[in-house]
């Protein structure tokens, strides 16, 4: 199946595009370093979410042209950014007051594992590696919606959606929605509920690639990545 899967599955940009469709106009959004940052590129036309970065900016914009960087104007990934009109600067305690106080509408992060009880592991692969947590533990416990972008399985083909995480946790019961390379899955009352799947993939095939039971509650829609603004 893995050769099939490679041709079938969404690219990271397609996953990011799908996640962007759920971001409301005016939402306050934190995008994790790396892959989740791409969500900003697929903002739905007509909507103006406000992006938050841990190091103290609201309403920053895309990277400046090469050579135009100002190194006091960076995001949490230490990459140069720009400002949109209506931006604000604030210190780190105020920045995490926004996070911890539940003022963010959405936080979108990457994942190593997501459990059906909403537990997330995304900060440490376990013993041996040098630990580095950043703002992930704050974000996952307190944003109104915590969404995860992820390949549905690891490079070895192991499920990333599991019954219980075996890797060190980032947060407990925190994930509300998973945008995977194969499906959109919600966490509801300790269960995975399948909302969308690739049309070319059967439920049983998807279940076989998932480490915990996929529940269905109403319609399972086709996971479609197309239309204006969709990555090609």
């Amino acid at each position: 199946m893995s050769a099939d899967l490679t041709s079938l599955k969404l690219t990271n940009d397609q996953i990011a595009w799908r996640a962007a469709q759920d971001i409301e106009d005016g939402a306050y959004v934190n995008l994790g370093i790396g892959f989740p940052e791409r969500v900003a590129q697929y903002t739905v036309p007509g909507r103006a979410p406000v992006f938050h970065t841990e190091n103290g900016i609201l309403n920053f914009g895309p990277a400046p042209a090469a050579g135009e960087e100002d190194w006091d104007l960076i995001n949490a990934g230490k990459k140069a950014v720009t400002l949109k009109p209506g931006a604000a600067f604030f210190h780190h305690a105020d920045s995490f007051a926004m996070v911890r106080g539940g003022h963010l509408d959405v936080a979108i992060l990457g994942a190593f594992q997501i459990a059906e009880n909403g537990d997330l592991a995304n900060w440490s692969t376990g013993k041996g590696a040098i630990p580095a947590v950043g703002g992930a533990m704050d974000l996952v416990q307190s944003a109104k919606r915590v969404a995860v972008l992820t390949d549905h399985v690891t490079k070895n083909g192991d499920p990333k959606l599991v019954k219980r995480c075996t890797m060190p946790l980032t947060g407990v019961g925190c994930v509300t929605r998973i945008y995977s390379s194969l499906a959109v899955v919600d966490v509801v009352d300790g269960h995975f509920v399948l909302r969308e799947k690739l049309k070319a993939m059967s439920f049983d095939d998807l279940q076989a690639l998932t480490g915990a039971e996929l529940h269905v509650d109403g319609t399972v829609a086709d996971l479609i990545v197309e239309g204006a603004g969709a990555p090609v």
């Binding site: 209506g86 604000a88 604030f90 003022h103």
Partner: protein, 235 residues
């Protein structure tokens, strides 16, 4: 994103009976008098009001009390130059009072905005205001545990707002405004002027727009202190 609303009545429309309402200001400084008076016009009952004081004269919070809208007040200092509204209701037993040390009040509000459900402070340790509260020793000193203080609504007086809800304040009118703006589910702002996004330099924003919900422009706000000196009565 445009958080402006056309009128005071629109601004305070979501506030209904039984709401917990933070009202910023210290005495009259930074007090959102026009929002308070609009709320009196609407007339919700059984409100809990959180403010540093308990009203003065016959305008603002004092007028809310006189209109019978307030069932409980949380404050640090209910005395004022003309406390008759508070004293009458308190003495009659129709107004419950929770007195909180001023710094604890501020920190409890800030804690609510910052997602800190409880914290420890040396303030009030060994006093009757600490009775019934958990006490803990850290590094040989005793501290009292205090809970966050949240609200359904906050009424805020800003100097400049942009349409996205970024705010600045005028002089010491800042006081409780920035922290109350953080601590309420719905933060309602009267601003002396509303500008387009970009109209406030990003380094000069005091309250970022993420903390605010509804903004109405009141171009020439009254000062509560001036009203009181004139003997004004609302309504």
């Amino acid at each position: 994103m445009d958080k402006t609303v056309p009128s005071l009545a629109d601004a305070i429309a979501p506030i209904g009976d039984g709401a917990v309402v933070m009202i910023a200001g210290f005495g009259g400084s930074g007090a959102p008098v026009e929002l308070i008076h609009a709320l009196i016009d609407k007339g919700p009952k059984n409100l809990t009001v959180i403010n540093n004081n308990a009203g003065n004269g016959h305008v603002g919070i004092a007028a809310m009390i006189e209109q019978g809208m307030v069932s409980k007040i949380v404050c640090s200092f209910p005395r004022s130059s003309d406390p008759v509204a508070f004293n009458t209701a308190f003495t009659a037993g129709t107004l419950e009072l929770e007195v909180v040390p001023q710094g604890t009040l501020a920190e409890r509000i800030r804690a609510a905005g910052a997602g800190i459900p409880a914290f420890y402070t040396a303030t009030s340790y060994g006093t009757e205001l600490a009775e019934g509260k958990p006490v803990e020793e850290f590094d040989g000193k005793h501290y009292v545990r205090e809970r966050w203080l949240r609200a359904d609504f906050a009424l805020i007086k800003a100097d400049t707002a942009d349409t996205m809800g970024n705010l600045t304040y005028r002089m010491a009118g800042r006081n409780f405004n920035p922290i109350m703006a953080m601590a309420a589910d719905c933060t309602i702002v009267q601003a002396t002027r509303i500008v387009e996004p970009g109209g406030i330099p990003p380094e000069q924003v005091v309250t970022p727009g993420i903390f605010t919900d509804r903004i109405v422009e009141i171009a020439a706000p009254v000062q509560e202190e001036t009203l009181i000196r004139e003997g004004a009565v609302y309504p």
